[in-house]
Each structure stands twice: as structure tokens, then as C-alpha cells.
Symmetry: C2
Subunit: 140 residues, 2 copies
Amino acid sequence: MKDIETPKLASDCVVFLPGGLLLIRRGFPPWKGGYALPGGFMEVGETAEQACARELAEETGLRVDPATLRLVGVYSDPGRDPRGHCVSIAFTARLDQGLPRAGDDAAAVEVVPDWHRVEMAFDHARIVADAERLWLGSVE
Amino acid sequence: MKDIETPKLASDCVVFLPGGLLLIRRGFPPWKGGYALPGGFMEVGETAEQACARELAEETGLRVDPATLRLVGVYSDPGRDPRGHCVSIAFTARLDQGLPRAGDDAAAVEVVPDWHRVEMAFDHARIVADAERLWLGSVE
């Protein structure tokens, strides 16, 4: 199976906090300095949920139990990442405590109140819109 | 991005037909000769939905519009495939016409009426159970 080439895999995390949407400022290209969801490449040996929780912790310092993540969708358009075909599995997390702080390859972390008005890297605005629909449709 | 190693990606398709669940008999290991969902590795340059429709066509001769597929879930347990870490993105398709015929690496294709009583390869029984819940929960 080593020789089989398939798209790369990443996981992104949508976190709505009381003050707004949790976003990072990207520390590296593409979209260096731009807003993006916390997330990154999945590692061999971890589940998509574990990858999502790990990236969230690495980039924002916030901890979430992987078992509590809810699937938002799978984003597999071959053109969504200019570096090559990379599929994102996006989750949303409910966090009731903790304050984010930037880490890893995030240059900064922000809670953005008016997130509909900012530009985001990749197709992250679409992922956020899908996550909003999921929250609106839930009975919680 | 070429050097980044992430898990392999596959797509599987759950198709409930009037006579039962559409399953193939695997032509190759693992689970050679066993029941499995139609599916296979995703190719670079295609969406997950396109991969799902392509594999369905190659293995069973049935055609489905990728845009009509509904996401069942993402299955990313590192141990789900004995060959290595492979994540499956599973969809379900509604097909109202066409008769399946075996092709490609499927040894045979069957419509199995009592699918709860047969053993399936990988974690496909779990994927089918999730798809059943999705259909039951839908208002169609």
C-alpha cells in the first residue's frame, strides 16, 4: 500500500467561542498572515478526531476531547490547496472554558467577532458556513 | 507537500436496492472472497464523491451522479485496514434503476437481502449501520 498515491489528509477545527470564531493568523505560506481555522496534516496512526484535537492544542493551546468533536464535512476539491491535492476533514468543537494562545505554526490566535467580514485561507469560509448550519440545525 | 506522509484515502459506497444491500465479493486480499462495500482508493485530482462514483461504476457497473451522494461518515481508525492506515470516506447513494454486474477487482457483485447476517470486510458493517441510521433519520 506504500506505493499507492492518494491525496494528502488534513483536519480543521471550527470553534465558536462566546466572543466569536476562533481563528489563527497563518505563520507560513500559503496565505501567510491570513486568517485560517486551526488545523493541519493528519499523521499516520492517529484518527481524524485525534489529529483535529492535536492541531487545535498545538496552534491555540485549547484542549478538547476528540470523542466530543462533531463532523462538519469532507472538503476534497483538488484545487482547494495551491500546494497540491489535500482533503480536509472538518470538525466543530464546543469549548466552555480556556483561553487561546498562539503556538506552533500559528503566528497569532484571535477570537474574531465579525468573522463573516474577514477573508480566510483555503475554503475555510465555506467550512465555517457549513458548521454554522450544523449548529443551527442541532437541538442543543 | 510531496514529502508529507499522511494516511491513505479511500471511498466506499453504501447502496440500498429494493432487493437488499449492494455488496461485492472481494477479488483480492485482505478478506479475499469476503463481502465488502464497493469502493477503493481515491486518486489525486478527484473529489471524494467522484472517487466513490468511479469505484461504484468500476466494481458494479452502476452509475450515480457524484453530486447526489450523501456523506455517511469518515472512518479513520489506524487499525481498520491490515495493510496500513487508510481512511475511508463513506457515502450512500440512492439508485432507482440499473442492474449491477461485477467488474474490476470485484470477483462478484450481489444484492444481499439479509445483510445483517453476513460478515463484511474491514469496518464495513459499521459503515452500513451508520448509513441505515442516516436513512431512518431522513425525511425522504
